[in-house]
């Protein structure tokens, strides 16, 4: 009997989903803030030096704000190709989708792929604050995957409180507005409502997308600014029953295999036990054709009638020219007598034997019955063995499917899911739906070259991972975090000065983290110089057979 402890042997562990249900940082923060507010305030006299300092800082800040446009999100930022944003392949650009509309009316702009932007009436102003009237051209482009991000040259590093994060995107966009070729801006307090449709890679068992935030790119401060939580939802009809479906298919195949196995070995035919003729009953004596089923029964078989009335009906009925015998389930036959004019009489009969015919048939029956039993036993045994093998195979495959879909499994299956990000923007420019992650891996200095010793355009190497919409930039001779994955497909690539793509395919990218301070990366140079986005996409694929 346990006295001090309650031992829980082989307890059932909570699943990741069950734990996630309880996870709520916002609620925790709220509780923390609420409890902090009930604590005693600091005595005022101790705050005087602090208040004095704050007043001075506020004055300086006021001066800065009123004399510069440093904090004006709508301040002209010029062409987005500032020194901060440097597309590595200037000749390949994501094209804007340009649409003109009457700015005094509200308008919902809808784009291929499902993204949209809602613009209220009278949303725009010139740089000097005057309201824009008449036609306005809205320019919109999206960056959905690592190739889009690479082409754009938009940095995916995010500095927060001195910590450098990598931004993994669930959808990024750039939006601008022009009036007669002149850049215009959003009116103060005006917001546009945006829905960005994109794809993210998530574990198969996940029902709710992970948390993402909204960031706006401040090209003046050269950093992303956090703007709030992303309202992100899955919008594809991902079948949560895929696990059940796979199991059902497996079960159906198993059942079919069992049926095929059984039919491949027919059940032996049970011999019919001969019946002795009853001397008090009437019987027919026929001569059937040799190839008929009834003749295959015992020789000299007579057909005994149970019912005297039926026998008299049959024999007194007329001239019968044909007879049909229909086997019944109980060993009897239905005998149908057919007359010249097609009239019929039917009666039930059973096959019987007399005298020595019966004795011989009985001896033969016993021999045949033994054979039948042996054949049946052999069939049962062999089928059992083969069925057991099929069952074993079924169980192995079922376990594999269960492991594949089981969220507690060490091996997590990732799938691409369509998402819609919904948020509002109070300025034009580049907006991103992201989650910041610590780059991880090892911090090393890389020396980068190609196998043909060609110079690289930007002396950098880009690392793409199939499971995240981002680009990691490994800079030549600068300490960078490099994280290789043993299970994710990754691409290492760059461009030579002449525009050739040089890369390491997923099979060639190292799987182990670098252990030395220096990482030598030698890319393999391809012959092709991509001129368009499509050509670039053909070269930068995670699946090698498609390269």
């Amino acid at each position: 009997m346990e006295k001090n402890y309650n031992f829980n042997i082989n307890p059932k562990k909570p699943s990741k989903e069950a734990i996630q249900k309880h996870q709520n940082f916002d609620a925790l923060l709220e509780q923390f803030e609420a409890e902090k507010a009930t604590t005693k305030p600091t005595p005022v006299r101790r705050l005087w030096p602090l208040l004095g300092g704050l007043a001075v800082a506020a004055a300086i800040l006021f001066f800065i704000i009123t004399n510069t446009n440093l904090f004006d999100l709508n301040a002209p930022q010029g062409e987005m190709q500032t020194a901060f944003i440097q597309p590595p392949v200037p000749e390949i650009k994501k094209q804007f989708i340009n649409q003109k509309y009457k700015s005094n009316k509200k308008k919902l702009f809808q784009y291929e792929g499902g993204s949209s932007v809602y613009v209220p009436a009278g949303s725009f102003r010139f740089a000097d604050g005057r309201a824009v009237e008449g036609d306005v051209e809205l320019q919109f482009r999206e960056y959905k995957d690592f190739i889009d991000i690479f082409i754009s040259g938009i940095p995916m590093k995010y500095d927060s409180a001195g910590v450098e994060y990598q931004l993994e995107s669930a959808g990024m966009m750039e939006i601008r507005a022009l009036k007669d070729g002149e850049e215009v801006f959003l009116q103060p307090n005006n917001v546009l409502t945006v829905e960005l449709v994109s794809e993210i890679s998530v574990p198969a068992h996940v029902n709710v997308p992970p948390g993402f935030n909204i960031y706006h790119l401040d090209t003046t401060a050269k950093n992303w600014k956090y703007k709030g939580k992303d309202n992100i939802q899955f919008i594809d009809k991902y079948n949560p029953e895929s696990y059940d479906k796979e199991l059902k298919v497996l079960k159906n195949n198993f059942d079919t295999n069992i049926k095929n196995l059984e039919s491949s070995w027919p059940i032996p035919i049970k011999p019919v036990k001969p019946q002795k003729a009853d001397g008090d009953k009437y019987a027919f004596d026929f001569e059937f054709a040799e190839d008929s089923e009834v003749s295959k029964l015992y020789t000299n078989t007579m057909w005994q009638v149970d019912n005297e009335v039926d026998f008299k009906k049959a024999t007194q009925g007329g001239n019968w020219v044909d007879v049909k015998m229909e086997k019944q389930g109980d060993g009897r036959f239905k005998m149908i007598l057919i007359g010249e004019k097609g009239e019929q009489v039917s009666l039930f009969v059973e096959p019987v034997l007399r005298g020595t015919d019966f004795q011989n048939a009985l001896i033969n029956y016993e021999i045949e019955y033994k054979k039948y039993n042996n054949a049946l036993a052999e069939r049962t045994q062999k089928l059992q063995i083969q069925k057991a093998e099929l069952e074993k195979e079924f169980n192995i495959k079922r376990n594999q499917i269960t492991i594949k879909w089981n969220s507690d499994s060490n091996e997590i299956i990732y799938v691409k899911r369509k998402v819609r990000n919904r948020f509002t923007i109070n300025a034009l420019g580049i907006w991103n739906c992201d989650r910041p992650v610590l780059p991880g891996g090892a911090r090393v200095t890389a020396t980068i070259s190609t196998n043909k010793k060609e110079r690289l355009r930007k002396a950098n190497v880009y690392l793409a991972d199939e499971r995240s919409n981002t680009i990691y930039e490994i800079k030549q001779k600068e300490k960078t975090n490099i994280k290789y994955h043993s299970s994710n497909k990754q691409l290492l690539f760059s461009l030579t000065e002449k525009g050739n793509v040089a890369l390491l395919t997923p099979e060639e990218v190292p799987v182990n983290q670098p252990t030395d301070n220096i990482q030598n990366i030698i890319l393999k140079q391809l012959e092709t110089v991509p001129k368009t986005e499509e050509e670039l996409r053909k070269l930068l694929k995670f699946d090698r057979e498609e390269i």
């Binding site: 346990e2 031992f7 042997i9 925790l28 923060l29 927060s160 409180a161």
Partner: protein
Amino acid sequence: MRTISQINRRIAGNQANSMSLKPKTLTEETMLAEWAEVQAAQKNPARFRPLYERYYDPIFRFIFKRTGEEALCADICSQVFLKALQKLSTYTYKGVPFSAWLYRIASNEVAQHYRNSGKRRVVSIEENQLGEMMEEVDVRVDENQLQLMLEVLDDMPLESMQLIEMRYFEQRPFKEIAQILNITESNAKVKTYRILERMKKKMNKRKPSGF
């Protein structure tokens, strides 16, 4: 006490796997990166989010092994992170992972719960882990001895149980155990082996109940 059956086969099957479940220790660089996150959170509690998201799951599982009930575990887990936020300003980096500090808070909160409720402390054990421990005390692995081992464990004071729990039932390295309990690594090793020696002596003295 629950009876244990078919131990030998399961132990033989699982021992190879148990080695791969040992948690990885953090590098100095990772700990420093984390310290930067903690410092950011000390200035702005909203920045605690990445730490919360990183450690919620392992802390939950740590508490669940000691309580066995999901709802109770969730309550205690919330308390742990609230306490962590409240005391975050007192935390300084001393060359040990931030998680060790969280586990210490979690351990204290669990102990407090049992003091308040007066209930018996839950100890979660996988059968193969008992087998491993028995090999360490040089005892034959069979059903009778396992039953006896549980009786001996039941007599153990909480401080000793915590060490055995973390070493054998959670397979934490001594370094991590020391960080959580705020003792030196060699102290953790010495204490553990002394506990095992005492267990071995007790098992040799006693006969299993019911036999």
